[in-house]
């Protein structure tokens, strides 16, 4: 499945999309990202959006979901 990346997480990973496999839930995705990219652990927060909505840790991910990592927002 594809994970959309923005802001500092896009810069840490080195591109706007990351292809990941074998990940079942939002919580697993966050754990995978933090262990693979230790700089992500140092962020103030990390959220995951599924189909354009903030998702809870236990939400199951499906192949055709639109998944995005949401580092601390700073609009306005």
């Amino acid at each position: 499945m594809k994970v959309k990346l923005f802001g500092i997480t896009r810069e840490i990973v080195g591109g706007p999309i990351l292809e990941v496999d074998g990940i079942g839930t939002v919580g697993e995705l966050k754990a995978f990202m933090m262990s693979t990219y230790p700089r992500i652990k140092k962020l103030n927060s990390l959220m995951v959006a599924v189909n354009s909505e903030y998702a809870k840790e236990d939400l199951a991910l499906h192949e055709n979901d639109e998944i995005a990592l949401i580092p601390p927002v700073s609009g306005g």
Partner: protein, 136 residues
């Protein structure tokens, strides 16, 4: 009307879009790019958005505000891309029958926008850059 755009924001047009014959007050919040942060000179800002989700979250905030205050019309426009000093990243305009509700609603919208809407801002300094709010 909710809008994320790369074009410069037109404050007059945004204000005009909320003026209503039933309204006695419009409150407007305009964010501007400041030339310094924590005493350090800023060269420019760069904004990016997760566009469909940002629009969705802004729409939720506007709907929430309409539940809480007697809002006639509301507009939230946010710019993305590279912005120089004094340029305008965000304009929020709210029309209400009476003024107190407009001040409260407009402040609620900008406060909540800054907490929940997936938009990110990078400050560019002479000697480096930083994603705002990313780190403790």
């Amino acid at each position: 009307m909710i809008r994320i755009t790369e074009e410069p924001l037109n404050t007059q047009a945004i204000v005009d879009s909320v003026i209503s014959p039933n309204g006695g007050a419009v409150n407007v919040f305009i964010g501007t790019v400041r030339n310094s942060t924590k005493g350090k000179e800023v060269v420019r800002l760069e904004f990016e958005a997760y566009e469909p989700m940002a629009t969705k979250e802004l729409t939720k905030i506007a709907e929430d505000a309409k539940q809480r205050w007697p809002i006639l019309k509301v507009a939230v426009h946010h710019r993305v891309g590279v912005l120089d000093i004094s340029e305008i990243p965000v304009v929020i305009a709210v029309s209400t029958p009476h003024r107190a509700a407009g001040f409260e609603a407009c402040q609620y919208i900008i406060d909540t926008l800054k907490q929940t809407v997936p938009i990110w801002k990078k400050e560019i300094f002479e000697d480096g850059e930083v994603w705002v709010a990313a780190h403790p």
